[in-house]
């Protein structure tokens, strides 16, 4: 079951990292000019936030499958959760950017900084701080969402391993209790790691 925990953490962390990358792109597309990209971003964000994660994972597996694109259940789970993360994080980034007052940019520009320097040296460091806790929250949600891998036949993550033992032994209560405790611990350990990193990162 510990090996299952590793797979679960792997999916959660990967889906957050890729989700951040897509989230940034979505936020930029949505805030930018009204073109096909802003439309795509809008649709993505709306669907990700307003439909069950289960469907998103299902669609990644069976939907893409019916289009002739067969991917493993691991990849389907990763894609589904990443899709979900990106949608939520895009809104986090958009809100975060709004939380940084325009006067900060004005101050940077009046010191002779270019727009790029102002963003990189003044806005970005503050933005990272603003979005940091929402990102860790989303990561915990991602850990919990990985259990949905069961529905697309993933048997190597924590939920999958648990279900395998359950089927073999029928000791449902015992195995699922242990799994619940392990999910709890994984979530808490990731949170503690994030806190530790925050402590090193943000000194103000």
């Amino acid at each position: 079951m510990l090996a299952g925990c590793i797979v679960t953490i792997e999916v959660a962390v990967l889906s957050i990292i890729i989700g951040i990358a897509f989230g940034v792109l979505l936020a930029l597309a949505r805030m930018g000019r009204k073109d096909v990209w802003s439309w795509v971003a809008n649709a993505w964000i709306e669907v990700a936030r307003n439909t069950p994660a289960l469907f998103q994972i299902y669609l990644a597996y069976f939907g893409l499958g019916s289009l002739g694109l067969h991917i493993s259940s691991f990849l389907a789970l990763l894609a589904g959760i990443t899709f979900n993360n990106a949608g939520y994080l895009a809104e986090t980034f958009r809100g975060g950017l709004r939380a940084i007052p325009g006067t900060q940019i004005r101050a940077a520009r009046s010191l002779g900084m270019t727009a790029g320097q102002g963003f990189r040296l003044v806005v970005l460091p503050q933005l990272i701080r603003v979005v940091y806790y929402p990102i860790t929250n989303q990561m915990i949600l991602a850990v919990l969402m990985t259990a949905l891998g069961l529905t697309v036949g993933l048997d190597s993550d924590l939920a999958g391993v648990t279900q395998r033992f359950n089927v073999l032994t029928y000791r449902t209560f015992e195995y699922f209790s242990v799994a619940a405790v392990l999910y709890y611990l994984v979530a808490k350990i990731l949170l503690a790691a994030a806190r530790l990193l925050a402590f090193r990162l943000f000194r103000y």
Partner: protein, 240 residues
Amino acid sequence: MIEIEDVHKSFGLLEVIKGVTMNVARGEVVSVIGGSGSGKSTLLMCVNGLEPINSGRILVDGTVVHARETDLNKLRTKIGIVFQQWNAFPHLTVLENVMLAPRKVLGKSRQDAEAVAVERLTHVGLADKLKVYPSKLSGGQQQRMAIARALAMSPDYMLLDEVTSALDPQLVGEVLDTLRLLSSEGMTMIVVTHEIRFARDVSNRVAFFHQGRIHEIGPPEQVIGSPRQPETMAFLKSVL
């Protein structure tokens, strides 16, 4: 020398500067007084090119601020500006706040930038706050830090926009003292202020702004001591 020639400026349909002409010579301190909404802040932001203008022109040492070929980033290094709201960069210490632009814009080495920053911060009385984050400073200290940050670029001009307006009364004095110090050192300044006594004591000239125009300009003894325009009198009465 700053030359403002018949400048007009609108936000959408609202014309906020309606033909302002004013020169500020090297070493001169010009105070700008006037009711809120009369266009004082907008004018300062036009001078360093943060805001575009609709017509007229502004020259700084002969460079046309709003000309297409003007390198605004370079121009801004010689015009320090400090705003009413404290614009400290919250993620940087006081020292780092002041070092940032000299390093990244002027390309100074860490040691050089630090030496200048420490010198300027000492000048404004913040030598004991170098390693502190701005959130731990009082409003007056933040404002003095902002002044030091502008001074670290070794500007030829300082534009100050109501730098004491957001401060508690007991903190105003320390910031005004810093400005007095600057003027005694010969810094060229445009000071937008509601501190009439300060304007009277420190400026070479006082400009009274009213509805987007300079309504009255002249030496402080005249504009503040014996104003000619009824609007100036009314304004002075309301703030004194």
